[in-house]
C-alpha cells in the first residue's frame, strides 16, 4: 500500500462547478502538505502549502488538512477550463526534503 493515496480520476466537471479533490495518507509524521498542479507535458507547480491541520484559502482555491483522519482536500471554486490539469498532493515530515506524492487526479473542466 502506498503512503499517499489519491484517486487518479479523471474527474470531469462543468465550468463554474466546485472541484473537490482529496488524498489520504498513512504516515502520521507528515506535517507539511502541498498541492501541485501539472499541465500536460509540463512540470508540477505549487498551488497550496499548508502546515499541520486547518484550512487555507487563496483566491478560488481552499486547502484543508485533517491530521486526525489523515485526510487532505483541495477545493476549486468557480472552475474554469484553464483549471483542467492533473492535481498532485504531496507531503513531508520536515519543511524541506523528501516529498511523498499522490498519484495525481486528472481534472477536466468542460465549457
Amino acid at each position: 500500500q502506498k503512503e499517499v493515496e489519491q484517486d487518479p480520476g479523471p474527474l470531469s466537471v462543468p465550468e463554474g462547478a466546485i472541484v473537490s479533490l482529496n488524498c489520504t495518507y498513512s504516515n502520521s509524521a507528515f506535517q507539511y502538505f502541498m498541492w501541485y498542479r501539472q499541465y500536460s507535458r509540463k512540470g508540477p507547480e505549487l498551488l497550496m502549502y499548508t502546515y499541520s491541520s486547518g484550512n487555507k484559502e487563496d483566491g478560488r482555491f481552499t486547502a484543508q488538512v485533517d491530521k486526525s483522519s489523515k485526510y487532505i482536500s483541495l477545493f476549486i471554486r468557480d472552475s474554469q477550463p484553464s483549471d483542467s490539469a492533473t492535481y498532485l498532493c504531496a507531503m513531508t515530515a520536515d519543511s524541506w526534503g523528501k516529498l511523498q506524492f499522490g498519484a495525481g487526479t486528472q481534472v477536466v473542466v468542460t465549457p
Partner: protein, 111 residues
Amino acid sequence: DTAVSQTPKYLVTQMGNDKSIKCEQNLGHDTMYWYKQDSKKFLKIMFSYNNKELIINETVPNRFSPKSPDKAHLNLHINSLELGDSAVYFCASQSRGDEQFFGPGTRLTVL
C-alpha cells in the same frame, strides 16, 4: 529566464545505451532533486543533493548515477538503459523551508 532547466527535453534511445540528462537552476538554491514520473503520473523521488552532497538516495538501480559538479547543476547518467526506464524525469530545486521548483521534464523513451 527559466528557473530550472533540463536538457534534453526529449530523449529516444535503444535498450543497452548509456545516456545523460542535465539540470541547471539559477535560483541560488542549495538543494536539488531528481524525480521519475511513470506513465500513470506517479511522481517518485530518486535522489537529492545539498551543496553537492548526496543526501537522499532512494531504492534506485545503480545503473542510475547522479552527479553534481556545483550546487547549480545536477546531472543524471543512466547506464545500460532498459525498457522500464521509459518515463519523464523531473529535476527540482529548493531553498530550505521553501517550495520545490520543478523543471519542465525530460521525456525518455527506450526502444
